[in-house]
Symmetry: C2
Subunit: 339 residues, 2 copies
Amino acid sequence: MGPPKKNRVTLQEVAKHAGVSRSTASLIVRNSPTISEATRKKVLASMNELGYVYDRVAANLRSQRSTTIGIIITDIANTFYSDLFIGIHEELEKEGYTGLLGTTFDLHSKQDRLISTMLEHRVGGIILVPVSGNGQETAERLQKLDIPVVLTVRELPESDFDYVGVDYSEGTQLIINHLIDKGHRRIAFIGGRVESSTWTERMKGFRLAHEGKELHMDDSLVFPGAINKQAGIEAAEELLKQHQDHLPTAIFCFSDLVAFGVILGLRRAGIAIGKDIEVVGFDNVPESEIVQPPLTTVSSFARQIGTEAANLLQRRITNTGKKTEKIIIQPELIIRDEK
Amino acid sequence: MGPPKKNRVTLQEVAKHAGVSRSTASLIVRNSPTISEATRKKVLASMNELGYVYDRVAANLRSQRSTTIGIIITDIANTFYSDLFIGIHEELEKEGYTGLLGTTFDLHSKQDRLISTMLEHRVGGIILVPVSGNGQETAERLQKLDIPVVLTVRELPESDFDYVGVDYSEGTQLIINHLIDKGHRRIAFIGGRVESSTWTERMKGFRLAHEGKELHMDDSLVFPGAINKQAGIEAAEELLKQHQDHLPTAIFCFSDLVAFGVILGLRRAGIAIGKDIEVVGFDNVPESEIVQPPLTTVSSFARQIGTEAANLLQRRITNTGKKTEKIIIQPELIIRDEK
DNA sequence: CTGAAAGCGCTTACAG
DNA sequence: CTGAAAGCGCTTACAG
């Protein structure tokens, strides 16, 4: 943990140097309006001269406040999540909060450890993207906390938390309807953990779109899996193996990241994306515009989710009583490279 | 900042509940070996029952230690930096540190504010990607700190800090030599801030490669700029406008992110990437494999930089005296889609 | 505005 | 192992 540090200039020393009391100096760092401009300037000058750094940690300990927020997401290397993080971070910064970031990589053990670490560091609240799968114990643990928790992206089963997310069912219907309207009849669904709300909701939309168009849904074309590029590559290979004599004409991917893997896997097998098979994604990450052909996808407005989640958490911190809020953002179909 | 919180279970209460002294309880949370197994179990049981959460902040204040590290990078939405962050974070986690993340977006004002915030939160050290441009005041400020600072990716001019980076000159030579060997004679250089060490070093490599092959270097083909997709798009447009009757045959981009923008800009102008003009990048971000044609680039091993930086910082925290270390990682040419 | 006192939750140091 | 005391750097509350 490193050796003890010394030599921090204290408020006491500043006060002495400026010839005022510690109380006055304390009022000044906290921007109290009761202090005359003259003494304020004098004290600020002393701070500058001595190189004073406000000890927010000590202040928070004494006043039982917190200026840090725990942010627990799945994978910062996924631009969906880095955008989400930026949204959260920018909003928190405005209010003077600092974020403690942790990534779970969708592992329960990491999530548990991160929550503990955040609590030990006295965060004033937590914004969490829960890991996929049964979150019963996690939900119970979070309910007991005496700090507010806002969930984003995924909900926790059978629990009642503040939540900001996207209407995944609606988003999936939008894009599947689009595919069907283009003439596709056999559509695969690749990626996502069946235990997570984000998968079941997409599945619901997938089914609804099929039913709405009175189309048969082929369960053998559904390939759940992890939500990253590698999983996409593997799923594409598996799909090709299982259905080589009767390939689907379109593939709906759980996320753009999965779609990139699928595209890579298909390409390696010599399949022409956009001609032999159409691939679509979900999230509208910046890279979806760069791949060739550009990816048709659904925007899930990661950044906006972040902003809303941060605001919701702030409201909850200052206003602890009320009923939980659920903010559901409406997704938007992003059609690319249509001729 | 939120209202005061109450009801935190203290070590005192745990001690009372378990029938031991506060000192004993304190020794137990710190894993002292002098405590008998029986009392340890008894106390741990009490902690569990009462829902005790160790207050690391209070402990750190008293013992004048820190378990947090400030991490200041440029832009987490750039996968180069998110990879760097993951490398840092995983390494710090092993040693029980928590990271405070801030992003500067290459702005001096943000950087200054972030450093202040980190100090106020009593970080035990800082890992910093300095913003481009004159860093004289920043360097002086950092030198005065009584906590260790490790720079990564970019160095600060005329200063002596611990540093982990890549041999950008060598990387640039590798890829420019490759282009020249393929027959290219007019090569543009797009992106990067001329005030930053990362640009001057690439420029050095760019020049050396030309000189080595006894080739004329055309300064009018050098387009410095920001390091993101949008800047790449704009630079590509500018390049096309200025050199429409005599286009370069290849474009070396400051980073993959810039390359993606350039590719987009050229494509919009109807230029066939890989045929009319060859585009190459720097960093080898995951997406470089997905674009079509796949991007030839130079791997700068972001994750490894992160790991090394975190390790270097830890060494510095425990071993404050020694001379500064400079760790330069050798880049690797990644050739893609060669027929 | 000052000044003295108490306290946030812990660790430290020490006599027993 | 215990127990009492002091202190990390701040804020709080209050009498003056």
